[in-house]
């Protein structure tokens, strides 16, 4: 099976004055294509740091992060930007839409930063419309974020995450700001994406969310404590 992403002995150190804080102390994991992984752990366990590295927002101090065959750890800032743009789709807890843009424009944002094709072609436009329809917002293209509910905003964010056809989708507490009914809708949407073969990594501390994943990784003190099918959909 091909690997979408691979972590090898990943360490991340922060220098705070004279002290060195080791947020990650040797993390190794494989993420095969089509995987659906939930990363869990209490605060301070290192899961945010891991997420930042997985998202190519940060570089590891030691070890390797291989994404789609590229070693992200040695890349320049511009190269990291390109990796984020083409290989990673972000979904955030607080949606992080651009307030002054419409739904359609928000979905298009990652297209504006493609290195090779910054111009939005008719085909691109079509793709955005398809994605909006897919997440159920085909009739709200001209709305602005403040005119949408939380669930709708998160749907826009999901469509935006898919627009450049990324290698992995990274979701950081995607349902943290939503009620349970909406949470179910969003999780159904993510499951559907996984069924299409997309690799999804989701960071959460809610078991109801983690249960939907195929695999769970539990972090503790900068290390992976447990990794595997720890929770099942019909309860443990």
């Amino acid at each position: 099976m091909r690997l979408a992403a691979q972590l090898v002995d990943l360490e991340k150190h922060y220098h705070l004055g004279e002290h060195t804080v080791k947020a990650l102390r040797g993390v190794s994991a494989d993420f095969p294509e089509g995987d659906y992984v939930a990363i869990m752990g209490s605060s301070g366990s290192g899961k945010s740091t891991l997420l930042n590295i997985l998202g190519a927002l940060d570089r590891p101090t030691m070890g390797n992060y291989i994404l789609a065959g590229y070693d992200v750890g040695t890349m320049s800032d511009d190269e990291l930007s390109e990796i984020r743009n083409r290989r990673i789709g972000f979904i955030f807890q607080s949606y992080n839409l651009i307030a002054q843009n419409t739904v359609l424009e928000n979905i298009q944002v990652p297209m504006l930063y493609r290195r090779d094709a910054r111009r939005i072609s008719a085909a691109d436009e079509h793709r955005c419309l398809d994605l909006a329809a897919k997440v159920g917002l085909g009739d709200r293209l001209d709305h602005r974020p403040f005119q949408l509910s939380g669930g709708q905003q998160q749907r826009v964010a999901i469509a935006r995450a898919l627009v450049n056809d990324p290698e992995i989708i990274l979701a950081d507490e995607p349902t943290g700001n939503l009620d349970s009914a909406t949470e179910k809708d969003i999780m159904n949407l993510l499951s559907a994406l996984n069924d299409e073969g997309r690799t999804i990594i989701i960071v959460t501390h809610e078991t109801s969310v983690a249960r939907r994943a195929k695999r769970q990784i539990v972090m503790k003190d900068g290390l992976i404590e447990r990794d595997g099918m720890l929770l099942t959909e019909d309860g443990k």
Binding site: D78, S81, V109, N164
Partner: protein, 453 residues
Amino acid sequence: MLPFGNTFRAINLAFKSLLLHKLRSGLTMLGIVFGVFSVIAMLAIGEGASAQAQQQVLALGATNIIVLSVKPPADSAQAGGGGSRGRSFGLQYGLLRSDYRLLRGLPSIVGAVPIREIFSETRYLQKTPNARVVGCTSQYPDMNHLTIQQGRFIADADEDKLLNVCVLGAGIAAELFPFDDPLGKAVQIKSYRYEVIGITQERTASAAIGGSMSGQDYNKDIYIPLKTFQVRIGDRVATAQAGSFSAEQVELNQITIQVREQKDVLPTAEVIKESLTRTHGTKKDWDVIVPLELLRQADQIRQIFNIVLGSIAAISLVVGGIGIMNIMLATVTERTREIGIRRALGARRSDIVQQFLTETIVLAGAGGLIGVLMGLATPLAFEGIQWIVEHFVLDAATQNSPLSKMFTDMHPKINWFSLPVAFGISVGIGIIFGIYPARAAAYMDPIEALRHE
């Protein structure tokens, strides 16, 4: 460079962000608007003032050299004065008829007009205005750019026959003859009456230039033939003032000399100075004025003015730029989250720099454009100021003083070159003051930026 479509989209995006905060963008722009406006307005006013000065100097004639009689200081006059010329009558000084004959003979001179003038009361019926009575020859109007409105100017024949004829300036004609046609009427000057044979066209007064020449109001002149002047009025003028009596004897007050070309002006002026030094010796009772030199001085003063005014206006542009930078820094802080989102979605640092720099340039450029449009209205605004000054500041007495006339007659001239330059500078200010906030935005840590509330 970036492809064109991309630039267009960046500008579009910038407009959208700026329109999100209309009031803030508008206020930020004001600094640049007024900066650009004041640059254009200052240059226009400077240009207008210099054009006015140049016109006045040109009215004196660019190919003319003016030789004047100057009343020497009292002690030197007595030292080198009358004694040598025999019979002395009061103070004797100034250019002589022999000077005129001497100068007329110089090469490269095409014309010379001797002038004798006094200030005297004139009379027609019960009107008795004071006027400058000028004895001159037929060439005078040509050299001083006077045109005749009615009748004719003094002819050589008038002089030969010592006729009692006169030509009135437009102003004095209106004063003496408010209702009648002056032609053919007789005006009394001193103890003789002179028949009016012509009236000159109204002409703007020339202001004093560089302190070497007093302002001249040609409209209050009365011209009579020079020889008639000598015979009827004479060289000696006695004035009785309260308690004192003074007399002076002057043959000629002024000789206006015209040379063929402008390049002959300065060498000829030197020759004139030398010959007069030889004939008058140490007695410095004459002076040579070269309008061309005044023109050059006026031009230099104009340049100094433009530089000074331009610099002051440039300061306001810089202040406007600082205002823009200040707001852009606030904007960057305010939009930290947006920057984080864009970075997470794949924007490179250069993309962020481009976004914020474009915003600043659009802001400054739009301000510049409005400033240019306002600058175009400078003449209108200046007219408004002139109206206010005329109606509320000046009273009837000061209205006709040379200084206020100079102000009210001035017209700002927009220097077309200043429009693109001022606009270009405003865009340049956008770039200079935009780089720092844009870089501050680009070099934020995307993780921190995403977490920013």
